[in-house]
């Protein structure tokens, strides 16, 4: 009996370790690449670097344009601003919309939610040309505002679904109690609904941020000034048609993923369940 238990345990752990390794392996290879001198793309399955250099990181971080302006800082800022604004803008609009979809009865309520779902089914690249035309007409090509607008609209449908599902689980009586206590609609949304929705807000915020932070195709299409590039575009250009600087590419990839990891770390303490426990009984 004991033996069998031990055996199953070992097997389970072996299984889990294999998959963890399989998941982490590519990341380890990228780290190795970013630390190994040279740009060759030799296939080696050993993730431990044999020589270590910081040359690739230096190259990425200290890149300058023809006039000698520091590019990397500018590009990090671009990405942070675009992703940050997308998150704030997207989550705010999604939360208010989701609340309306969850609590009010109005014409187009059902079809509105269905539309959001349908829109999600098209791949983003399909929208490339229409979006280009629209941004062009609005004069927002090559600008942070244009990207924020586009990213928000692509992130919002998912966020609305996510948040509506969560709002639906918040007991109606809590809001009724708040209404009697003297809260306005906006007041109870702010003081009761949002604080109780922290986990869902955190997830949607993370989703919006990552959507904007990692997006490449739209950014590549809409931006044509190096100083306006976001990081995914910068990265891609290390291995573009003209060159294949795999070392710099790897170093950049590592640097780019740091803010996402940091954000995840900050938000994860909000990803808890049971926030509404104790409010209503029965």
């Amino acid at each position: 009996m004991m033996k069998r238990k031990l055996a199953t345990r070992l097997l389970t752990h072996l299984f889990l370790m294999t998959f963890t390794l399989a998941t982490l392996f590519p990341v380890l290879l990228v780290i190795r690449k970013s630390l190994t001198p040279g740009d060759s793309f030799r296939l080696s399955l050993n993730p431990i670097p044999t020589e270590v250099t910081s040359q690739h990181y230096k190259k990425v971080v200290t890149a300058r344009d023809f006039d000698g302006h520091w590019l990397f800082g500018r590009q990090v800022l671009n990405s942070l601003v675009v992703a940050g604004l997308t998150t704030i803008f997207g989550v705010f609009l999604a939360a208010t919309a989701a609340y309306a979809f969850s609590r009010f009865r109005f014409p187009g309520q059902k079809s509105g939610m269905a539309m959001f779902l349908v829109v999600q089914m098209f791949p983003g690249t399909l929208l490339l040309i229409p979006l280009y035309v629209i941004l062009d007409k609005l004069g927002l090509l090559n600008s942070v505002a244009g990207l924020v607008l586009v990213y928000s609209t692509t992130a919002i449908p998912f966020c609305v679904w996510m948040l509506k599902g969560y709002f639906d689980t918040i007991p109606k009586e809590l809001e009724e109690a708040a209404r009697i206590d003297g809260a306005s609609r906006m007041g109870l949304f702010w003081h009761v609904v949002l604080p109780l929705s922290r986990p869902a807000i955190a997830v949607t915020a993370l989703f919006s941020f990552m959507t904007a932070w990692n997006e490449y195709i739209l950014a590549e299409t809409f931006l044509n000034d190096e100083a306006a590039y976001t990081l995914p575009v910068v990265l891609q250009h290390f291995v573009g048609d003209k060159s294949a600087q795999w070392g710099a590419f790897a170093a950049g990839a590592i640097l780019v993923s740091i803010p996402v990891m940091a954000l995840f770390y900050v938000l994860q303490r909000h990803l808890v369940s049971g926030l509404t426990a104790g409010g209503v009984k029965g």
Binding site: P171, E173, L174, E176, A177, A178, R179, I180, D181, G182, A183, G187, H191, V192, P195, L196, G274, L275, T276, A277, G278, G279, V280, K281, G282
Partner: protein, 378 residues
């Protein structure tokens, strides 16, 4: 400090008419309890006062003010929900203070009120906790505190004790009675617990299918139920109902009614009035059924079930008039399978019209009553 009045109020949800016509006055400072079976519209009535539902037609008045279109927060009411509805993310202190902060009371005033209320309700040690760290009884207290701290002119309670165990329910019931004496504010209280209704109410409103069946002091409803519904709903165990034939006059020469059923003849004197030669329903409370030995004269019956409850015993009796219940003293000698005689005193029984369900008691004058005012028990 306000009376609540319903004037020709109706309430529909879609095609479903939940309240066909409601006329009701809750006098200032009174403790009024709404009772009735599940789904009869008690909660809906309360929510109409709170403004959480709007009337389909008619008027709701609080004080002298028509509040049909007034938002809940401006109606000067407070409500205690059955589920308590405490704000889970706030401490007890913040739960109590929330309504006061929204109303922008000065900070000192808020602190003073919260402290007063937490002293009255014994919440002092709990102020820093969140709802999930409280027991059911403590949550209940906080929910009441949140209502009291606002000092509204009307309190609304929707089955506030139904989630508590029996002992705690008794305690809280007495506490609510004390609170009402202390605050002397109008209270509308919904329950389907008869004990709560009988012990707390100045006035009980018995409802069935969205209609008021009877309004009166608790003992009025118990002693003089206006119709079959009230007779059957108030009192445990339930009143016995016997189908009888009504005829006029008697050997004693009184002008009153005599009722007959298989094995039962009862001269009712002149307490009741009604058409003779028709069927009616005789009502007798189990506590008014006297269980005598076989030598007495009365309805013959056999004891089928005997349930000792401590101070008293419930007997289920099989008679020619069907199964009847009696409630007797614990020392009563009747045992299962005993043959007994059931004696009913004419001044303790009730008589109802079969069709309308109305009481035939002379105390009630049905001449002006709208035909719809009283429903029958189905």
């Amino acid at each position: 400090m306000a009376e609540v009045r319903f004037v020709h109020v109706t309430k529909r949800f879609g095609d479903n008419t939940v309240i066909p016509e409601l006329n009701l006055t809750v006098p200032d400072k009174e403790f009024v309890v709404l009772v009735g079976p599940s789904g009869c519209g008690k909660t809906t009535t309360l929510r109409l006062i709170a403004g959480l539902e709007l009337v389909s037609s008619g008027d709701v008045l609080i004080g002298e003010r028509k509040v049909n279109d007034v938002a809940p927060k401006d109606r000067d009411i407070a409500m205690v929900f059955q589920s308590y509805a405490l704000y889970p993310h706030m401490t007890v202190w913040d739960n109590l203070a929330f309504g006061l902060k929204l109303r922008r009371l000065p900070r000192d005033e808020i602190r003073k009120r919260v402290e007063d209320v937490s002293e009255i309700l014994g919440l002092d040690d709990l102020l820093g906790r969140r709802p999930k760290e409280l027991s059911g009884g403590q949550r209940q207290r906080v929910a009441m505190g949140r209502a009291i701290v606002r000092r509204p002119s009307v309190f609304l309670f929707d089955e506030p004790l139904s989630n508590l165990d029996a002992k705690l329910r008794g305690e809280m019931r007495r506490e609510i009675a004390k609170l009402h004496r202390k605050l002397s504010t109008t209270i509308v209280y919904v329950t389907h617990d008869q004990v709560e209704a009988m012990t707390l109410a100045d006035r009980v409103v018995a409802m069935d299918r969205g209609r008021v069946q009877q309004v009166g002091a608790p003992l009025d409803l118990y002693k003089r139920p206006k119709n079959l519904f009230v007779a059957g709903f108030i009192g445990t165990p339930q009143m016995n109902f016997i189908d009888v034939e009504v005829s006029k006059g008697s050997a004693s020469g009184s002008s009153g009614l005599v009722v007959h059923a298989d094995g039962l003849d009862l001269d009712l004197g002149d307490r009741f009035d009604g058409p003779t030669g028709r069927r009616a329903v005789l009502g007798v409370r189990p506590s008014d059924v006297i269980v005598s030995g076989p030598e007495a004269s009365g309805l013959a019956a056999e004891v089928e079930v005997r349930e000792p409850m401590g101070a008293e015993v419930f007997l289920t009796l099989d008679s020619s008039c069907g199964a009847l219940q009696a409630r007797v003293d614990t020392h009563h000698g009747a045992r299962v399978a005993d043959r007994v005689r059931l004696v009913m005193s004419a001044d303790k029984v009730h008589l109802f019209d079969v069709e309308s369900g109305r009481s035939l008691d002379r105390a009630y004058d049905w001449k002006d009553a709208a035909p719809t005012e009283v429903g029958k028990e189905s």
